[in-house]
Symmetry: C2
Subunit: 206 residues, 2 copies
């Protein structure tokens, strides 16, 4: 009987400790919120990236040269990052291995509802991703999921390569404030990087 009580007490203690631990700790990184692949390097489009941490958005911030896109309404670009990598960056100013950024472009509209001047977001235009992962030759890779709905479950798209990857690599090497990421466009993160000294030495404030 005494033994039975001590078993019960042990279980109760474990339960109490678990409940306390769950409350006392900051929100734990979601298990497995990093990149997932098929065929080793084909990135599977994250199903829940809209619930990841939002870094910033822009309007009309295209890769195209001035004027070439002037006849189309500008698109919004929303950037999301997996939560565990976000928390790591806020403490270190650096991106851990297995960081995944999703860049979501959306069409914009104006003169609808109460809005007479500005622009707001509408339908999805295209989904892209940038990944930091030591499995890739130089540690980073870029992906384009296109404009359609997500593909078959569990099937990824291959990293951009050759001529399609070159402009990504060049721009993300020469013009980024922190590692290969445009942290200068993410105001809350840029402050962290400046405070922790992780802005590239050759980066000059715009």
């Amino acid at each position: 009987m005494k033994r039975a009580i001590s078993v019960g007490a042990a279980l109760a203690a474990i339960g109490l400790f678990s409940a306390w631990a769950a409350r006392a700790q900051p929100p734990a990184p979601e298990p497995g919120d990093g990149p997932r692949y098929s065929n080793g390097t084909d990135l599977i489009r994250p199903a829940n990236y809209r619930e990841w941490v939002f870094l910033s958005s822009s309007l009309g911030l295209t890769y195209e040269a001035s004027g070439s896109a002037s006849n189309r309404p500008p698109t919004f670009g929303n950037v999301f990052v997996n939560p565990s990598s976000y928390r790591s960056f806020m403490q270190t100013g650096k991106w851990p291995d297995k960081t995944i950024f999703v860049l979501e472009f959306r069409q914009s509209e104006t003169a609808a509802s109460i809005n007479k001047n500005g622009r707001f977001q509408t339908t999805l235009a295209v989904v892209e991703a940038e990944v930091k992962d030591s499995r890739f030759p130089d540690g980073w890779a870029f992906f384009n999921f296109g404009s359609g709905p997500p593909g078959p479950a569990g099937v990824g798209v291959p990293p951009l390569s050759g001529d399609r990857a070159a402009p990504c690599v060049e721009c993300h090497t020469q013009h980024t404030a922190v590692e290969r990421t445009f942290v200068q466009f993410y105001p809350t993160l840029f402050e962290v990087a400046k405070r922790l000294g992780t802005v590239k030495p050759n980066y000059t404030d715009p």
Copy 2:
């Protein structure tokens, strides 16, 4: 000894079950991610709203009449909602009691870094909030945290009232697609509301 083994087995089983349960369940709603008050109805500015679920952003979508703000650069408006209410909405198309929206306005810049045409977000301009809470007479309240840094910890701001609240209430009653919220500007949520039939009967698509 046999008893000791069964205690060990029980603990191991609990550990395995806990690990399984933690992996099998969707991310749990953060405990206490709803509104917090001082003095009963003064809303405390949420410290971590940037880690909440992003609903959408807009550029130049002001409350002001056409032309009155034309000499100033447009501001971005980012909308965040507490995660547990987001998950509830995605299942029901309705906002549960204790839902809190944070509307964050940020200055915009252009012609910096690689960006020659569009606009991107910079410094914080103002933080506002809208809350659904049965403690308020009509179930909703609006708050303005101003443009400065967060105030003293644990001290809230009172809900807007009288002439300051009237335009909020009027606009959020007459022009909103779902309850008192501009779900028509949150594309991923608008689809859910249309599918679940929670768009107001008198709302007409812009």
